[in-house]
Symmetry: C2
Subunit: 474 residues, 2 copies
């Protein structure tokens, strides 16, 4: 499991390249999916670390404009930037629900997330090179994955095309995800974001951004990622996996087999429709015979994001199944059953996305884990320098005060190696290394949670204590 | 450094308890601060792991309502939830800019972040217990930190009060931050969020939520966190660090000494005002003699969040200083100089928050790091079972095809321990463990990036290959 990913939050479908599905009960209630919980689906392994480690030096070519050239990430960061929230969803999300067992990772609901991206618009980039040449109909992005020798490039290269109007309207090259640098596993240093389109179009590790006359000749574009009848081979005449249709599902409570306490509960989930946003989402407890409208929760992050919703409901003891149905701003409503297709793409049927919930009268008692104390491990981080310190007479007087005379003793709250003090309430003085004035002020007047001791100490004692703390932490 | 925090992104002010400041050049361009980049300021060390590990079993008392009682996190999750974005900012953020050297961590701009919280409203919680008793004027929350023996509780306990009207209007108990479970270091399992108020009010590890007649008697409330003239002791008659005033600053480019390339650049930063939101932010390149309005970027997450802004500007070679001044929705404008106060709290003066930028004609060449190949380390994860496999005759025939006859060889793309194949383009077959039908379908028709080989192989060869892959991965 990649180090940045939360333990226990994923179903591992594959490791080279990564295919990690967010477990349904590990989605949050809020509208953003944290990097630690976001699914991963890479078509090929990431470029070598020696390439992705270049950060701002990462470069890519720009093709199909009045002038050709290249840019680095540093160049992008000097340009006008944009931040948008989009749903990132694998074309095969929901494949596991198709009855004909299409090959590929058996994703349930968790090959999707909603992310805040920051980057530069493709239109601004093309503008820098004099604008798109006339007659070019597609935006084509090429990933930076290294291709093995002996393999036909078009068979494996990750290169995707979308209509040029789409590219110029709202596509971005991004370097930031949820406020942090875009992780390599998600396409960093630089990735294409195609708001509202399926994941495969959001090419990672972009090495070329082109305006082209035709769709890419790569297999992943020509015959891959096409909606095609079962048994038929893929081809360019079939619909490409571009815009994501309206969809919703519940993430809890009670997903992945966890029992819920019978009584009033709050169902929660997500709803979206590529480029459009959603108008409403309804919940049914009787397999769609009757529906009731759910309530939106949290901020609306825009038409390409998902919205989170909730629905308060009394759940009696027993097994239940709840389904949801979203309607987008153009009136499209989630169908009961998905469009059957060979590869198991684009599943948005409400029936199969239902949440099965087992409600019980009493939950099993929470097991209290072993009594490992956090302080046990952290106490050892006190750097106990055992070398004898040469203290001045004043400081030696202060040491006595520190150890014995202060009530309560200074070491109750502070760590100080020379005094063998390991308190963890106040600052570690070896780390803080305060100066005389700071110690005197803290003791005399208090600071933060520390009370004032000014009334209990003479000026001479105050100075002695300060001298000790300063000398003992040099 | 806590494990979940991004390497290099912080200034360490203290470790027991943690005081970590986000470096100015590690803030993102977007409106949300990732958990990996969010500052940490804890008054006391976190409760023992044995307590915080309880997750949904975490419980807290509810006091001051018609009925008293307690709730667990599991109870909260059954209630109606809310998601809000708020700026979390330490009262001492900007302390380093005060000329009188107030004691405490010398925060610059980085003791702040903007976060999406999910939880339950305090009003709903109190409602569950029959509502607040009449005459109680404060919401008082108590943290779950363990207090050392021998120390006066009121001197160290983290217990804060805010007006009850504020508590009932928009305060939350939260368990989720940016879509992931609230980390312990940030107050998980359960924390109070007081939108628009300084950090100290957002009590962590909440063990008691009370409506009270008076403000808490704790030192942190009575005399701590008060705006007071230099030299004066703290007391309850002074203003408490509650609502955050209007503020803005630039985060880049060129923060923390990084040179920028002269020419057109985009300045970017954040602006906010507690409970109000911001109307405008202006930029000045001449220390406030003239101002120009900046442009908002990204979604507006609400009146308690910050907004990100940008300003395109040509920067000539040389040293420059840019300042910004925000105006909130009630007309309050950031002052030039902060209100001088003993503890160095609440700094929002625009002059000191300026960004110094050094622009150069040419940037130093990016150093290409050593040629460590990602594939070197990942290749070792192939589980190379060296035990002899008992293969059927059919599978042995398939092994020859796998190793020699296929063009290109299967191992160019796939890992398969029995064949000593270590390709990383396609799935690792030992991990995938496909069944006969899946292998046959993939070879005959292709799948994902894999081309179809159906035309090159006889049915018997296809079956042999499939038999080999299945038997070799059992």
């Amino acid at each position: 499991m990649p180090g940045s990913k939360a333990e226990g939050a994923f179903i591992l479908h594959n490791d080279l390249p990564w295919a990690l599905e967010t477990r349904r009960n590990h989605f949050g209630f809020g509208p953003i999916t944290s990097a630690s919980h976001l699914f991963v689906r890479n078509n090929l392994p990431a470029p070598a670390a020696s390439l992705t480690d270049q950060g701002d030096g990462w470069s890519f070519d720009v093709v199909g404009c009045a002038r050709e050239g290249s840019l680095t990430l540093a160049d992008l960061k000097r340009m006008k930037n944009r931040t948008v929230a989009t749903v990132l969803q694998c074309s095969g999300n929901g494949r596991d629900f198709f009855p004909h067992d299409p090959s590929g990772s058996q994703w349930g609901v968790g090959a999707a997330g909603c992310v805040l991206w920051t980057g530069v618009s493709v239109a601004d980039i093309f503008e820098q090179f004099g604008g798109v040449q006339s007659g070019l109909a597609y935006l084509t992005a090429t990933g930076g994955e290294e291709l093995p020798e002996g393999v036909d490039k078009d068979a494996v290269v990750v290169e995707r095309s979308v209509p040029i109007e789409k590219g110029l309207r709202d596509c971005l090259l991004v370097w930031e995800m949820n406020g942090a640098p875009l992780p390599v596993i998600h396409g960093g240093p630089v990735r294409l974001v195609v708001p509202g389109y399926f994941g495969v179009n959001n090419v990672k590790w972009v090495r070329q951004l082109a305006a082209t006359a035709r769709e890419s000749g790569a297999k992943i574009q020509q015959s891959g990622y096409r909606m095609r009848p079962e048994g038929l081979a893929g081809g360019p005449e079939q619909p490409s996996m571009w815009r994501m249709p309206v969809k919703s599902w519940l993430n809890g409570p009670g997903a992945d087999g966890a029992a819920v306490l019978a009584g009033t509960n709050t169902l929660y989930g997500v709803a979206f429709s590529g480029e459009r946003g959603v108008d409403a989402v309804e919940v049914s407890a009787d397999d769609g015979a009757t529906w009731q409208q759910a309530e939106w929760v949290g901020p609306d992050l825009g038409p390409d994001a998902w919205r989170t919703f909730q629905f308060a409901i009394r759940i009696p003891v027993g097994e239940h199944r709840f389904v949801t149905r979203a309607t987008d701003t153009q009136g499209d409503q989630q169908p009961r059953v998905a469009v059957h297709n060979h590869r198991g793409y684009g599943h948005n049927g409400w029936r199969d996305h239902g949440l099965s919930v087992r409600a019980v009268a009493e939950l099993p008692k929470t097991e209290i884990k072993g009594s490992l104390q956090a302080s046990e491990s952290t106490a050892d981080t006190v750097s106990a320098s055992m070398a004898m310190l040469a203290l001045s007479d004043k400081a030696l007087e202060g040491k006595q005060l520190f150890l014995q005379q202060a009530q309560p003793g200074c070491g109750v709250c502070h760590s100080l190696a020379d005094a063998n003090a390991r308190g963890v309430v106040g600052p570690n003085l070896n780390q803080l290394r305060p100066n005389l004035a700071q110690v005197e002020s803290a003791i005399a007047q208090g600071v933060g949670a520390m009370p004032a001791y000014g009334a209990q100490l003479s000026q001479s004692e105050l100075e002695a204590l300060a001298a000790y703390v300063v000398e003992a932490t040099r």
